[in-house]
């Protein structure tokens, strides 16, 4: 039904957009090992996005943009490449432009901690496909969280510069955090999942990381105004999509 499709789109867009930002790190990491790790995480999220987009399309074919008759473009690609920016429902944390390595560590920590908590709950949800995607995702996101937690600690306790950069990255991304732990109530009934206590759970995980690292939890809440889940984004997303969609849109009848 429509609620399930909409919810799958949100989860898919989070993964798709976060994956795109991680991919931009390719060939730019501080060490080859981290280049490989970042690509791995980007691939995990891309894989999740594909399954979720397909689920959304199957749950409600009306969400898939119309293409010219006879177009061979599959539903996952129609959704990824032929929706406009205000139809994307991802949280804004996913789209924030890349900064330095501390920035990607913090982004992954916040993103994976919240998504892991969501997918853990969804493993037992009423939709078998979504439950399976969630189960697979839980393993992947556990790795993402551990990787980013390790680096968070390393940077916090490394040098003065790394600690300064880490705190700067945390301050700059923190205002996007509240969006991550809000769950649309409409979906609960459909899926039979209880999202109660989600925020507190993720807070707890993060507090643990902050404590071990000797980093103070930033004050301040979220930002005023509409959010990513409303289709209202930062200025960065339309640029990201312009790049992502340019070739696909130039060839609506293309075979790839």
């Amino acid at each position: 039904p429509a609620e399930l499709a909409a919810y799958c789109l949100m989860l898919a867009d989070d993964a798709l957009v976060a994956s795109a930002r991680l991919s931009e790190w390719c060939s730019r990491a501080p060490e080859l090992e981290e280049d490989i790790a970042l690509a791995n995480m980007a691939l995990d999220l891309l894989g999740q996005a594909r399954l979720l987009l397909a689920r959304a399309a199957a749950a409600d074919p009306a969400v898939v943009p119309l293409l010219p008759a006879g177009s061979p473009v599959p539903a996952e690609d129609a959704l990824a490449f032929f929706r406009d920016v205000d139809e994307f429902l991802n949280v804004r944390l996913a789209e924030a432009p890349n900064g330095d390595f501390a920035h990607v560590v913090v982004r992954i920590l916040l993103f994976s901690s919240a998504r892991l908590a969501v997918l853990q709950r969804l493993r037992g949800c009423g939709d078998a496909v979504l439950a399976a995607v969630a189960a697979k995702g839980v393993k992947e996101l556990t790795y993402h969280r551990d990787w980013s937690g390790r680096w968070f600690l390393t940077l916090a306790r490394g040098t003065d510069e790394s600690s300064r950069r880490l705190r700067g990255a945390l301050d700059s991304l923190w205002p996007f955090y509240p969006e991550l732990v809000v769950e649309p109530p409409a979906v609960c009934g459909v899926l039979g999942v209880d999202f109660g206590g989600l925020g507190a759970e993720v807070d707890g995980v993060l507090d643990l990381v902050f404590e071990v690292s000797g980093v103070e939890r930033p004050r301040g809440g979220g930002l005023a105004g509409a959010v990513g889940r409303d289709g209202v984004h930062t200025e960065a997303l339309s640029r990201l999509l312009a790049e992502m969609q340019v070739v696909a849109r130039a060839h609506p009848m293309g075979c790839w």
Partner: protein, 307 residues
Amino acid sequence: MTLDLQEKFDAVIAHHDRIEPRDWMPEGYRKTLVRQIAQHAHSEIIGMQPEGNWIGRAPSLRRKAILLAKVQDEAGHGLYLYAACETLGVSRDELVEMLLTGRQKYSSIFNYPTLSYADVGTIGWLVDGAAICNQVPLCRTSYGPYGRAMIRICKEESFHQRQGYELLRTMMGGTDAQRQMVQESVDRFWWPSLMMFGPPDEESPNSARSIAWGIKRNGNDELRQRFVDMTVPQAEALGVTLPDPELRWNDERGHYDFGAPDWAELAAVIRGDGPCNAQRLAHRRAAHDDGAWVREAATAFAERSAR
């Protein structure tokens, strides 16, 4: 003593056996190997850029995943090869330094730009194809760690080559615009691919010694011919034209005849005046410099934790 060692080394080479890291080896052999393996490792790392250029613009999510995984594999190949090189007593840091200061080279092909998504396929088909022609014989190279790295790499490279070819075949089955894109890409990459085998043998003085040492197994021209013979039927199957009017089957030789690449262009590219040399090195340098504080932090943290 040294004589005995030299004799033993020569015997291993003569029997096509492997030299291992702890074995004695002539300094020239070691140096040549370091240069060749390092150049190969650098090529994998620099080679991430031209294809990485299109990850963000891949026109389907399936192709995006394939491309991202491929570029990631290249980073992995770089890792194995740096490790193989380290068995010869050079550290990865030193090798990276040699790349960044231009004292060691990487494959000339990566100094050409990628200008359309078809280039991703063409690089898989032609560039990886040429690399495989170069590398398959290196699986039998005389230095053990290098040969074993090559076996693993070659397996992944032929997978990449098939993926590249498959992308082009799919595009050729698509729209006219896609077919044109493939042809335009092949037009740009054909000659640089032939140049990947290096200058003609008579102008490649180090080749003979490398062959004698069992580091290389074949001459440049022989490998180039093998590549052309392998590729022409594939081009026909694909439906693209290779941009060489002299290209035709020679019944007598049992090989395809083909025109001479522009060797002056190759020389310019190797000298540093290719379209992208400066860009590729600048990108690599920026990544290295931007990451310095992270590596320092990791070292400081490891030291603190060890205490």
